[in-house]
């Protein structure tokens, strides 16, 4: 069986060639401003993910997600370990939920039309080429017109072994008036193993459809992680995405949302818990192509130790996108004098009757708030953790799923516990 595009060796070779020919981002690249591009050295890592050794069951066991889900897929080192469909009616309704390479073979047109169709507009063209050359599997989810999936679908990607690599991909097509929630969990199997992760998302939200997408990035603390997310939002559709950033040594996250239909809405949310010498480098693009659409970005970063965050966000209102509402808010909570948060908001407005605002603030824990918790007998450490979680909660609550919010809280507490 031949799988067009996907295992097509010439296509892969071309991508590999492109990766080689594109220059490494340098200090002077505007798209990489403030980033330490030396952190991008990929030479130590495996070019292709090495298979897991030992018993795969241990990853399945560790993939603890929500109590109630519509389905669960588990990968380790880009190898499918398990696929559980818990809602049997999905297939009858025409939902396609398969590993990417299978879907590419079975639905070549759908695949070809959407797979990496929007490139990497925020600076990671080179790494997108690497992803195209190296991707083996991932999630393909197609939700037909009008189909509503109430419970979240969960996907786990584990990266195991020293100097190993992973290239997770999520391709999601939500047709008109459909509804779906997808959660990706990226996790490092060994806390100190070094690794490379270059992931890519294509999220398509059709007219009137509603998508909730959450990605929990919890790679090992020695991982170089690059993630490119492209979301396309149709008329009267709603796309809410939340990135929870916990892991990696250097994590670059590029998220672009294109609003292509009137009345579409995109909520771009992010929470980051940075400590030690972690660097989280976040680039965003709210691209308003259609009139009367709405986008609202809220990024919240809590920084401890010598951690650093970089935020560069652009709101672009294209000439026809009249009556646009676009907002962008970055909030940094500095828990240490050595932590550093850089924020670079940007605006480009080419239409009329536009409401836009952007702003970034940095602050510290309010001493009176801290005292209030201490006065209740809560230790200083726990009080700080609670206040940090409280600070991040605003973005998490915007997803509007209490069970998921609780799960995310639990995962974040595990990081604080270290």
């Amino acid at each position: 069986m031949s799988i067009p595009l996907f295992t097509d060796e010439p296509v892969r070779a071309a991508a590999r060639q492109l990766f080689k020919s594109l220059p490494m981002p340098g200090r002077l690249d505007e798209a990489w401003r403030f980033a330490d591009t030396k952190a991008l050295d990929m030479s130590p890592f495996e070019a292709m993910p090495a298979p897991i050794d030992g018993d795969p069951a241990r990853f399945v066991k560790r993939s603890r997600g929500l109590t109630e889900t519509a389905g669960k897929m588990i990968f380790a080192n880009d190898q499918l370990l398990s696929r559980e469909v818990l809602d049997a009616s999905l297939a009858q309704k025409g939902v396609i939920w398969k590993p990417l390479e299978i879907a590419a073979a079975e639905h070549p047109e759908l695949f070809a039309k959407h797979f990496m169709a929007h490139g990497a507009p925020l600076g990671s063209e080179k790494f997108a080429a690497l992803h195209a050359a190296s991707v083996k599997t991932g999630t393909f989810l197609y939700v037909p017109r009008g189909v509503e999936i109430d419970l979240p679908i969960e996907v786990f990607h584990w990266l195991s072994g020293e100097k190993n690599s992973s290239f997770p991909h999520t391709l999601l097509i939500a047709e008109a008036n459909s509804k779906v929630t997808l959660v990706d969990y990226f996790t490092g199997a060994q806390p100190d193993a070094s690794g490379l992760a270059v992931g890519f998302n294509d999220l398509y939200v059709g007219e009137g459809a509603q998508l909730n997408y959450v990605c929990v990035q919890n790679w090992s603390l020695q991982t170089l992680a690059i993630q490119v997310n492209n979301t396309v939002v149709g008329a009267n559709a709603s796309a809410k995405s939340l990135n929870v950033n916990l892991g990696a040594r250097y994590a670059r996250n590029e998220s672009a949302s294109q609003l292509i239909g009137e009345g579409g809405r995109s909520d771009m949310l992010s929470v980051t818990v940075a400590d030690g010498d972690q660097v989280f480098d976040q680039r965003t693009f709210q691209d308003h192509l259609a009139p009367g659409a709405f986008s609202d970005l809220l990024y919240k970063n809590a920084l401890d130790g010598g951690a650093r965050t970089i935020f560069a966000g652009m709101i672009k209102v294209e000439p026809d996108a009249h009556r646009t509402d676009a907002y962008q808010k970055v909030r940094n909570l500095l828990l240490s004098d050595n932590a550093e948060a850089n924020s670079m908001p940007g605006l480009e407005i080419l239409a009329d009757e536009v409401r836009c605002s952007h702003g970034a603030t940095s602050g510290q824990i309010e001493p009176e708030e801290l005292f209030y918790l201490l006065a209740r007998g809560i230790s200083k450490n726990n009080a700080q953790r609670l206040l940090v979680q409280g600070f991040l909660q605003e973005a998490i609550d915007r997803i509007g799923n209490p069970a998921l919010a609780e799960k995310l809280g639990e995962i974040m507490r595990a990081k604080f516990g270290n």
């Binding site: 918790l373 006065a375 209740r376 809560i378 409280g390």
Partner: protein, 253 residues
């Protein structure tokens, strides 16, 4: 006899002395009330006892059941049994009442012991019922967007959950409507116990009709200038404070 003893306490904010040689003993099982003009240092006293870092104690002692607590961090004092219901409770965005109180209750458990969730919620709901608080409050962020009266009620809820040995209630009555005053006072009276001492700070005699104190103190310019039975409150309400300080006028605030 168990008591919270304040001995010749002097405390500053920056260079300015606010508490100027204050002595007071709150015995277990008793309720004391402090009244006094605005700016006389009542809230300062309560925060010094709770361990607020902005205030420096320059001399004097605060002994809880014989143990000097002034060297302890605020959280340690609280775990040992000090509770302060704040005059102006802080808003804590993103931290729900349920999680906040769970952390506070857990902090009092012996090392290694975990809070039993069902029991915890049972107790929480019981106390909320007592204070006639809607259960939906548990999911709301602490004090965020609460009305003045709701904040005060929430302070008493916390006291009820934490069961302190010595509680200081700083103007818990202000901002409460008549019904709320009755409900909150009932909540406080339920907590009245031979094992618990309380200090009520108030401007109004009305509160003391509901929570009848054993002793009333008058604080002026950082000191207790008079103590007496509960009837003293009535006298203060009709006469004001000026007659107490004719020889030593209180500084204007």
């Amino acid at each position: 006899m168990k008591s919270l003893v304040i001995k010749d306490l002097h405390a500053n904010i920056g260079e300015r002395e606010i508490i100027k040689g204050l002595s007071l003993e709150i015995e277990c099982g008793k309720i004391h009330a402090i009244m006094g003009p605005n700016g006389s240092g009542k809230s300062t006293l309560s925060k010094v006892i709770a361990g607020h870092p902005d205030y420096t104690v320059t001399s004097g002692e605060v002994l809880m059941d014989g143990e000097n607590i002034l060297g302890m961090a605020p959280d340690e004092r609280a775990r040992k049994g000090i509770f302060l219901a704040f005059q102006y409770p802080m808003e804590v965005p993103g931290v729900t009442i349920a999680n906040f109180l769970r952390a506070a209750v857990s902090a009092r458990l012996p090392e290694g012991e975990e809070l039993e969730a069902t029991e915890y919620y049972q107790r929480l709901y019981e106390k909320m019922d007592l204070l006639e608080m809607d259960r939906s409050f548990t999911a709301r962020s602490v004090n965020e967007g609460f009305s003045g009266g709701e904040k005060k009620r929430c302070e008493i809820l916390q006291m009820a959950m934490l069961e302190p040995k010595y509680a200081i209630l700083d103007e818990t009555d202000s901002g409460l409507d008549i019904d709320a005053l009755r409900i909150v006072s009932h909540g406080v009276n339920v907590l009245r116990s031979p094992d618990r001492g309380m200090l009520l700070i108030t401007h109004y005699q009305r509160l003391l009709d509901y929570i009848v104190p054993d002793v009333i103190h008058v604080m002026v310019a950082g000191k207790i200038v008079m103590s007496g039975p509960k009837e003293l409150a009535l006298e203060l309400e009709s006469k004001g404070y000026d007659w107490l300080t004719e020889e030593e006028p209180a500084p204007a605030v």
